[in-house]
Each structure stands twice: as C-alpha cells, then as structure tokens.
Symmetry: C2
Subunit: 155 residues, 2 copies
C-alpha cells in the first residue's frame, strides 16, 4: 500500500494521491496542487531544487495528518511532496483530503498547506535568472523587518 | 484543444482537467472533486443517474467561469461534470482553478462549486436501497419547511 505521507523524487501523480483518500463515505475531495511559478514580483525563476531528510520530512507530514484528524475526524489525508530539481510549472506538492461534505475538505486542505509550509523541513534552492540562493527550508521566509512572510515562487 | 467547461459521459480524468489550467504564472491549483457518497443520514445510495441538456449546462458552467474571472482576474478555471450512471465513489465533478497565489485558488474554487450547485441544470435520479427519486436538478433541494438546503449524496 502507498504511504499517505511521502517525499518522492519522481513527478507526482495527482490521481495516485487522490486515490489514497478516495472512499465510499466521502462526497468531497479537496486537492491542493502547488506548482513552480515563473515570476515572483517581476523576478524570473529558472528552476528550483528541493532537498529534504526524507524520514524526518515524512514524519512531519504525518504529524500534520494527525492534527487534521483531531480537528476534522471524518477526514482522510494524503500529502506528497517532491524533491530534486523542479522546472517551471512542475508540481511540488499535492495535498488531497476527503470528507463527507465539502466545507470540511476546503478548510482542512487550507490548514494542511499552511502547516506544510510552517513545519516541514524541506530545503529549497532558488535559481533565479540573475543568481541563486538557498532559502533555508521551504517555509515562507520571514522578513526580519516586517515579520511577515515573504512571497516564494510556489503558491 | 479541450474545452474548459464540459459535460461528459466518460469517467473524468483529474489530470486532464488540471492540465487545462496549469500554466507558468500559476503557483497554486485548487482542485475540487465531488464524489458519490454511499450513506446520507443513514440512508444508503446504490447509484445515481445524472442527465443534462449538454449545451445549456456547459453554457452555465462557462458563465460561472466568467463570474470567477470577474472576481479573481488572475485565475484560470476548468469545470468538468459527468452525466449518466455513477456508482458509489465515482467522480461527478472536477473543478480546477489555478492562480498565482494559493488563497485565491481556495476562494475561487469554493465559489465555483457553490455556483455549480446553484445554477447548472443537471438532473439527478437517486437510486436508494429502498426506492428511487428524481431530484429536479442537482442543486441542493430546498426544503419547503425550513428553506434551507437539504443534504444530497454528493459533497
């Protein structure tokens, strides 16, 4: 059986991730797909590189899954994150959450992507048109000035 | 080129619907998948039948697409709805919306499914364990007593 929380190097299959949560008592599956965007505030990204310590990152994804079950007990959650080199428009993450009714699937999905960005240690190297830069982990970089998250080149 | 707003009889390909909105300037694709749920308030559904006047239903889906572009100008929208006989767990509808940033993809997607249920004329016959019933169109049936939507057997 496929794992519900996975870090993989190959392209992510949306159907496969959705298939992990599809079930007879669900009426809704919200699926969030994060892709690599070309332009961020006028700056062009050429490609990204993600790296993770796989078992730790998968454990963190599973932790998010548990948080979701605590809040939405009727849900089933799967999260697949890709690492390695990703080109523009490639899929970096797929989050699929099935629930009996749609409102919960949206809320739980939104929670899942925010938490993924907050706590999952996946390191990202940005290859811009004019240089490159390691962005610590993929969590949205906090600006030291404003304390607000800065924009990354994915969702 | 595939149509962005489609009524089809075959099983819906999630990847294909997502592919219609994937693009270099998107970082997020929210995908809502409505599936046929087995139990609704303890009542068992065996299968459903959807019928639509295809061109009219597709025009209504396109109208929802326009409403979304008005509110979220950076989005791209595709909606595929299946008709015919659907068994438990089958996918009835896939809504895919790409946006540069994730918040908009969630909001626009939520709007899209609500509007789909409100205005798209797709007729549904419920085959329950103990009988069958045509449910007008697939919009959530209004209760004459409370005026509130009743639950259907999909999302």
């Amino acid at each position: 059986m496929e794992k519900l929380f996975q870090i993989i190097e190959e392209p992510i299959s949306i159907e496969k991730t959705v298939g992990l949560v599809s079930r007879r008592d669900a009426g809704a599956i919200n699926t969030f797909i994060g892709t690599v965007r070309e332009f961020t505030k006028g700056k062009r990204t050429l490609y990204l590189e993600y790296q993770a310590y796989q078992s730790m990152a998968e454990a963190k994804l599973a932790e998010i899954g548990n948080e979701i079950i605590d809040q939405w007990p009727d849900s089933k959650v799967a999260i697949t994150h890709r690492v390695g080199r990703l080109d523009i428009e490639d899929i970096a993450v797929v989050i699929a959450i099935s629930t009996p009714h749609r409102a919960d699937s949206y809320e739980a999905s939104r929670y899942a992507i925010e938490r993924t960005k907050e706590i999952v240690p996946i390191w990202k190297k940005e290859h811009w048109e004019d240089g490159e830069e390691w962005i610590g982990n993929q969590t949205e970089t906090k600006s030291f000035v404003s304390g607000k998250p800065e924009e990354g080149d994915m969702c």
